[in-house]
């Protein structure tokens, strides 16, 4: 794994257990690469053999993540076969017909699947579980626009965090809520999050060798260890470069 990148430093060296991580991005600057990074990190961090990732996909199919993670040096198919990577493709699993039956957009059933998966894990694998949700805004679509339902779902995921000490990583788009008078969903998620990672374009406009900036607000379990970092990044073919503003020649 990429030891010592600024992102890893900002996230802390330990497993994110018991923490809620929120990624916020916008149209100009996608934070998907951070999601990939955390996915790879969660699977490859020591102790390797017991890490488990439950991935709830709304935005992309398995093949998409498989291709990207392969480039980063992580084989999802193998992990899946070893029961260390569980992939729920919501768009495939919940076709419209089935969804129509429930008023909850299938979210209760989805939560049931996640809970069942986690509680069925052998005891030694229950220590380092990461639940990842790739796009909350699309979950809102699945819930037919009901913010409350999404928040209920997230609440239930949060109960898993406090019960099993797993970590919850979720991605949402900041700018789609910019019009709302009271941006309730994104704000509620910010309150829920222990670590907030925000991807933004540079304030100074487009640049060829800097793709954007990341702000990581890591509110430690002990509050005094709050850490705020801000750095820029460049997304390359197989990796991402992180650097402090002005530190690159």
């Amino acid at each position: 794994m990429e030891q010592g990148t600024l992102l890893d430093e900002a996230l802390g060296s330990l497993h994110l257990s018991g923490r809620v991580v929120l990624l916020e991005d916008c149209v100009e600057t996608s934070a998907a690469f951070v999601l990939h990074h955390i996915l790879k990190r969660s699977l490859s961090q020591p102790p390797h053999s017991s890490n488990v990732v439950v991935f709830v996909a709304f935005a992309h199919p398995f093949s998409h993540y498989d291709r990207i993670l392969r480039r980063l040096g992580c084989n999802l198919v193998v992990q899946k076969d070893n029961n260390r990577f569980f992939f729920f493709d919501v768009l495939v699993d919940c076709p419209d017909g089935e969804e129509g039956k429930n008023s909850d957009g299938g979210l209760v059933a989805l939560y049931g699947k996640i809970q069942k998966t986690i509680s069925a894990l052998p005891q030694e694998n229950k220590n380092c579980i990461t639940v990842m949700i790739d796009d909350i805004s699309l979950m809102e679509v699945a819930a037919k626009g009901s913010t409350n339902l999404v928040l209920d779902f997230l609440h239930y995921c949060h109960t898993l965090v406090s019960e099993f000490g797993c970590s919850l990583v979720m991605l949402n788009h900041d700018d789609i809520y910019s019009d709302t008078v009271r941006p309730s969903l994104i704000l509620q998620m910010e309150y829920l999050a222990d670590i907030l990672i925000r991807a933004e374009p540079l304030a100074t406009g487009l640049a060829s060798d800097v793709h954007g900036q990341l702000t990581v607000l890591n509110s430690g379990k002990e509050r005094s260890r709050n850490k705020l970092s801000n750095f820029q990044f460049k997304v390359k073919e197989n990796s991402v470069e992180y650097f402090y503003p002005g530190s690159r020649t």
Binding site: V108, L151, T159, L217
Partner: protein
């Protein structure tokens, strides 16, 4: 101040009056409200377990944290819950607020999950039913103190969650019923003010006798915390804030106090407004633009100005002040003016100097108006 608030909750209600109620609120800029809530909770718990307060028991309605979280919290403050079951009960609205788990369990797709705090907690599986919630709180409290004159306290850790599941009127009804209940000694709750509309916050605040709001030391306008100019400010606001307390006395007087709240390694600290804050104020004052002129007149200057005789009103020289008010006919004024002008012509010739005769129009601006006379010009 925080101490004062805790004392007020400890002292409880007077006979025949509503229980004192405390709202703790914060916003995303300084999300320290939950820490303040935990502080008040543990202070009150300490008092209750030491039997120093009016109330003899505590019912905690847990929406946003699991019961085991609170058990650990109180354990860290040196209060052992397991041995003292008789003074605290937790109504668990966190683990399964909507009955999803129960439903899944019935379908056989999930197992029942046990948790360590089960000896002090009882689960509520439908938080939408506010009446049920009310009766559970009351029955838990009465279970601890029994029927009679002994009172208990109630703590609610998230009003936002309640508001998400039930209407404002029913939540307000619940809070107000709890306050009226003659077995309740004091009650406090926590909410994120920016998650609900202003009117909702106002309704909740009206129902409390004390409001503690946590505000940033230096407010900034931009909601975006990631704004790089604000980074240090944001970092500061995450550990420090202003603890504003507004309390309504029984006689209707409102008292406002504030101190500084600081979250450090050792926990939460309340300090009186520090010199550092004074420094901030100084900085703020220093930010006022420095100008080379005075914006206000001194007493002497004001007197001098009053003495100036304006050129077009011949005050004090015996002549009546004539003001044209538009009602006199043109002819009249001509007839009147003609003899004057003929009489004066001689003098005018003699002194060989001009005279402007000006009749102030009644519609004119006051002579010393600050307004720009040309601001309605359209060029």
């Amino acid at each position: 101040m925080a101490e004062w608030v805790c004392r007020a909750l400890r002292d409880g209600a007077l006979e025949g009056e509503h229980a004192p109620a405390l709202t703790i609120k914060d916003s995303i800029a300084t999300p320290l409200g939950f820490d303040a809530f935990c502080h008040v909770l543990s202070q009150l718990s300490t008092n209750i377990s030491a039997e120093k307060s009016q109330s003899r028991a505590l019912v905690l309605v847990a929406f946003s944290r699991s019961p085991s979280y609170y058990v650990d919290l109180l354990k860290r403050r040196g209060l052992d819950i397991s041995s003292s079951q008789q003074w605290i009960r937790i109504l668990d609205c966190y683990t399964d607020p909507l009955g999803w788990r129960e439903r899944l369990m019935e379908c056989g797709s999930a197992k029942n999950l046990s948790y360590e705090a089960s000896n002090v907690a009882s689960t509520c599986r439908n938080v939408k039913d506010v009446d049920k919630l009310f009766s559970s709180v009351i029955s838990l409290g009465k279970g601890l103190v029994g029927q009679g004159k002994v009172r208990f306290s109630v703590a609610i850790d998230s009003v936002n969650e309640m508001l998400r599941h039930a209407s404002l009127s029913s939540v307000a009804g619940l809070l107000s019923n709890l306050r009226c209940c003659d077995q309740i000694s004091s009650i406090f709750w926590f909410l994120h003010a920016d998650l609900c509309e202003e009117k909702v916050t106002a309704v909740i605040e009206y129902m409390s006798s004390m409001v503690a709001s946590i505000e940033p030391l230096i407010p900034f306008a931009n909601r975006h915390r990631g704004n790089s100019e604000n980074l240090s400010l944001v970092e500061r606001n995450f550990t420090k804030g202003k603890f504003h307390v507004r309390c309504k006395r029984r006689n209707g007087r409102v008292r406002v106090m504030f101190e500084e709240i600081h979250i450090g390694q050792s926990g939460i600290d309340f300090t009186s407004p520090s010199s550092e804050d004074g420094l901030v104020n100084q900085v703020n004052q220093g930010l006022l633009p420095k100008v080379q002129f005075n914006l206000q007149l001194s007493e002497k200057e004001r007197n001098d100005r009053a003495k100036v005789v304006l050129p077009f009103e011949h005050q004090g020289n015996g002549k009546p002040v004539e003001i044209y008010d538009g009602r006199k006919s043109l002819l009249d004024s001509k007839n009147e003016a003609a003899p004057v002008s003929t009489g004066n012509s001689k003098i005018n010739d003699d002194s060989s100097k001009g005279e402007i005769i000006y009749f102030r129009d009644s519609d004119d601006e006051m002579p010393d108006s600050d307004e720009d006379p040309d601001d309605d010009l359209d060029i």
